[in-house]
Subunit: 188 residues, 2 copies
């Protein structure tokens, strides 16, 4: 009998597969994320993994979704202080292996897989919109004269942290974060 989607056994095996996929991704990388490897890690039959996710790129999407990225979601005033706090937190997060895996896998896999590219686009747009909205509001309140289009802010302030974490594999200190925020415009 094929289990239905609200069958507890179906849900349990689904959870076990997602946990195993996450473990394989973080420990061995996206290239290792095969049905065989995930089935072995979960202690579940390979056919069961195929039944839940017929394609390996779907396994990757599920594993990626287990690492949350709640950045810039609650703007606060003064905006400059809030930005420094958020970027400091983001820089710390990018020091973690899990977050580096998700960020670099997203950028890499998106070049070949449509699902991953859609995920990349949503993520990029979310961060760019949140920052642009916060800066637009700050400008309306007279907190800042911006040097660039608010839609460029994500690349300008997140880009250096991302490069430092994934290419230079180093940490971003407070002084650099302050320099980045001050580079966006003239704060009053």
């Amino acid at each position: 009998m094929v289990p239905t989607h609200d069958d507890p056994r179906y849900l349990r095996s689904r959870e076990a597969i997602v946990a195993a996929a996450r473990e394989v991704l973080l420990t061995h990388g996206p290239g290792a994320l095969t049905h065989a490897r995930v089935a072995e890690q979960a202690g579940i039959a390979r056919a069961t993994v195929y039944r839940h996710w017929p394609r390996s790129d779907q396994l990757l999407s599920e594993a990626m979704a287990t690492v949350p990225m709640p950045f810039f979601d609650a703007p606060a005033s003064p905006t400059r202080d809030w930005l420094v706090r958020e970027l400091t937190t983001l820089a710390q997060q990018l020091g973690h292996h899990d977050v580096r895996v998700v960020a670099t896998t997203l950028a890499s896999a998106a070049l070949w897989e449509d699902d991953m590219d859609a995920r990349r686009a949503r993520f990029a747009d979310l961060l760019a919109s949140r920052l642009a909205d916060a800066l637009d509001d700050a400008r309306a309140r007279g907190e800042v004269d911006l040097h660039t289009d608010p839609r460029d802010a994500a690349a300008l302030v997140i880009g250096p942290l991302y490069y430092r974490a994934t290419i230079e594999r180093g940490t971003t200190d407070e002084h650099v974060v302050a320099t980045l925020v001050d580079g966006l415009g003239r704060w009053r």
Copy 2:
């Protein structure tokens, strides 16, 4: 008979394998870079591919090395103009699929493979050193008062182009490049 390393047949098959590995990497991604796939693409026996490069991460290293990255290698004065030119060129290069593949594969594969991590570290250090040296010289000539440590310059000016190209999948315009260079310090 096992061919020796200066045997023309050995060199020809080596070239064919590197070309095929590059093609597979650029077209299908690092996950597709297996001995079987490269052998098929090159029209060569799989055993020959194994003889040249026993491990698939070695195939990836060879394929990556075929995409040159000659950035910031010849500083010129005035330094501000040179930096704007170099960053504009880099932004254009990062618009090409091949360069995006190499950059994102480097960041991703380095998290799991020691050889790739060594390549990443060399590349990051090369760019950071070249920029730091050029800025140190500019400072010594009285061209600029820097806001940050010259070793931070790579992350500050390359980071946004890299994020824009690989996460936002967009282009960086001249105004943003100028903003980045002006963010490094006060140019005279």
